[in-house]
Amino acid sequence: MLPVGVQHAVPYIVIINFALVAAGLMVFGMIAGRNLQEGAPQGLQNFSEAIVEWLVGQARKMGDCRVNLVAPYLGTFFMLIIMSNLLAMLPIPLLRIPPTSFYSVTLGLALTAVFGNIVISTIHKGILPALKHLVWPNPIQLISEVSDVLSLSLRLFGNIGGEFMVSLLVARAAPVGIPLIVHALGLIAAVLQALVFTLLTSNFLASGLHHEEKKKKRRGEEVEQREEEACAATVAVEAA
């Protein structure tokens, strides 16, 4: 599939490309974070603020106060995955191999996501409740964590790797014109898969965080109801 003579070099290409993406994002962050202006932002600051606002909104949707922890966590996954997916659009020979089209990279990302979720819920709730969530009410939830890793990693790998392979095959069969269509379709998949990875990670995280809080909320509502009833009763007594 790949150009002749690079098969044995593939692991190094993956590492180099992934490192390049990470370095590029760091440089982008440094440039975008310099001389921030108040009021109506322009240019690069506007663009980066739009991303940050979306991520903060996503983190706030979980009804959690630790936005400072969750938003950068989700944002790292989103930016890293979307940039490494979009590497396939570049016309540069070896740089256009996206790192996410290899299973080891996506497995690493998925493992980081699931363990990160456990760590964040530990910070939020303490060690024992977070561990209790893994085995309570049924121990099968441990298996569901494993299947989360599998589904996250296989989805990303299958979409991006499959698309990359299809684009290589099409480019070999029809080198002119037709690959443009495949790349245009791949553009959708690249953005969508990064979005889906982030959304699913935040969903898993939310289900880990809010296992206990729903009960507390319900109890709180009951207490409020009782107080309201008591108030109404006293008002009625006073009126009589």
Partner: protein, 74 residues
């Protein structure tokens, strides 16, 4: 009999792709139905649609991985 492995990847992906196409069409149609009836719910419905589609898609991807493993044995 051993030559059948050449067509095995195709038959591994095909039924999964047919089923997933049906399921994804169902999800998208219902989501678009909801969006036209209540445009102000559009954002939430779109997110839910994406997650549902991704969950359906995962099943096809499992089959695709199996097909890739089979294709490696040719």
């Amino acid at each position: 009999m051993k030559d059948l492995i050449v067509v095995a990847p195709a038959f591994a992906v095909m039924p999964a792709a047919i089923g997933a196409a049906w399921a994804m069409s169902h999800i998208s149609r219902s989501a678009i139905d909801g969006m036209t009836r209540q445009p102000e719910m559009g954002g939430q419905l779109f997110t839910a649609m994406l997650i549902g589609n991704a969950l359906v898609e995962a099943l096809v991807i499992y089959c695709l991985v199996i097909a890739l493993m089979l294709a490696g044995k040719i």
